[in-house]
């Protein structure tokens, strides 16, 4: 019966990671990103993300390249995206 008025992350701070790739599939607030190695990853938009679900379909339509800041999620094969920004292709 912990007193949970403060939402403290008991497992310790989780490091934010970054990934770049192309948005290939979008459904509601979830999207699939295919990175430069051709591996696809699934992301859920965090409720704290500045991006709204309806901003994702245009990214998928243009097959846009984005940079995602994310954290892993427990008991889930997917990541929680905290920010999604357009990015440029690195110079070859």
């Amino acid at each position: 019966m912990a007193f949970p008025l403060l939402r403290v992350q008991l497992s310790g701070p989780v490091a934010m990671r970054t990934m770049e790739g192309v948005v290939t599939i979008v459904q509601e607030g979830r999207f699939q990103l295919t990175d430069d190695d051709g591996v696809s990853h699934l992301f859920l938009l965090s409720h704290r993300a500045a991006v709204e679900p309806d901003q994702l379909p245009p990214l998928q339509h243009h097959q846009a390249r984005v940079r995602v800041h994310y954290t892993p999620a427990r008991n889930l094969i997917g990541f929680v995206a905290h920010s999604v920004e357009r990015s440029e292709m690195p110079a070859a």
Binding site: F3, P4, L5, H47, P72, R74, N75, I77
Partner: protein, 348 residues
């Protein structure tokens, strides 16, 4: 995937494994349900509310509403003599718009969209109706308090006092709604404990709020106002006790009583009913018999307030337990528990 540690994968709590795979029907924990369950897994989902936060809101909202209601009544009944009580009532009624609303927004899982609560008015949703009750109560309370306080500083403008007076009745009516709509909110779900006794729970919540309001207004007050407010508190507590008995009877009849056998059920019995209703009733009775003893009245008032808060949190937690126990939810959704007559208010 290779960057994931083994400790990150998998659920934090392993599901309970039955004695053998062919024993799909893990028998219920209580003797009153001997039918099958699905591996003992819950059949319903418990409300995702933070019981402390939402329970605190229900208590604060009910207290605010009752304070507005009682101070309006006191003003009509006693006039000038009730002025300090009315003033305290106005400040108490400001708790709901400030602290109460903050608690509600905090509990939303996407709080930045809190204003979506006001997109529509839905008669089938007590949460929708309640949002509007809260908004109107907050508006009238805030306007009344501002006008009343401004009238003290600027007595040359009589329209300030008139405005304050005019907001009293609407705030009182909305306040009455604040004291009891939260019970309808809990009842209009499929959680067995909350759905089993919608009417007696509404009376319980409303009378508990009224008792808390009277107790808060009477604290520290002496003389006739204190005495009469104590009597009101005693009456409200008696109503709450009657509603509690009806509730518990109904829980036994519909088969949800086992949900109250756990830890939170004990808190509800000892904390809400024992220390929160029976004890203050006794203290008020003794105090009034002795011509109002300030110490006993204060103790009774504090016990009433604590009991009112404990009632909400314990009912919410016990309700969650009833949703998580398939033996309780299956017993509750047996055909014999169906309402005998279709409700008149819904003809679709």
């Amino acid at each position: 995937m290779s960057e994931r540690l083994a400790s990150e994968l998998g659920p934090q709590e392993q599901p309970r494994v039955p004695p053998s795979a062919s024993q799909a029907s893990a028998p219920g924990r209580s003797a009153h349900w001997d039918g099958p369950t699905y591996y003992g897994r819950p059949q319903l989902k418990a409300a995702p509310f933070n019981n402390w936060v939402v329970g605190a809101y229900i208590f604060i909202g009910g207290l605010s509403g009752a304070a507005a209601l009682l101070s309006a009544i006191a003003d009509r009944a006693r006039g000038h003599e009730a002025a300090p009580v009315v003033r305290r009532g106005r400040f108490l009624s400001m708790l709901a718009p400030t602290l109460g609303t903050s608690l509600l927004i905090y509990d939303l899982h996407t709080p930045q969209r809190f204003y979506n609560m006001l997109r529509l008015v839905k008669g089938t949703s007590p949460m929708s109706l309640g949002s509007w009750i809260l908004v109107s109560f907050s508006a009238f309370s805030a306007l009344g308090t501002l006008a009343a306080e401004a009238a003290r500083w600027m007595p040359r403008f009589p329209w300030l006092r008139r405005t304050a007076r005019a907001t009293q009745l609407p705030a009182a009516v909305a306040g009455a709604g604040m004291t009891t709509y939260t019970a309808a909110l809990l009842s209009a779900t499929s959680t067995p404990l909350w759905a089993a006794a919608p009417q007696s729970m509404a009376v319980r919540f409303g009378s508990s709020s009224l008792a808390a309001g009277a107790a808060a207004l009477a604290l520290g007050n002496t003389g006739r106002m204190g005495r009469t407010l104590d009597k009101v508190a005693l009456l409200a507590l008696a109503a709450e006790l009657a509603a509690t008995c009806v509730s518990h009877n109904t829980y036994r009849r519909t088969g949800v009583a086992p949900a109250l056998n756990g830890e939170w059920g004990k808190v509800e019995k000892l904390g809400a009913t024992g220390l929160g209703t029976l004890l203050p009733m006794g203290l008020y009775a003794v105090s009034l018999a002795r011509g109002r003893s300030p110490m006993l009245s204060t103790l009774a008032g504090l016990a009433t307030l604590a009991g009112s808060a404990t009632l909400r949190v314990s009912i919410m937690a016990a309700g969650d337990e009833s949703a998580n126990r398939p033996d309780v939810s299956f017993r509750f959704t047996q055909p014999r528990n169906l309402p005998k007559r279709r409700s008149r208010w819904f003809r679709r």
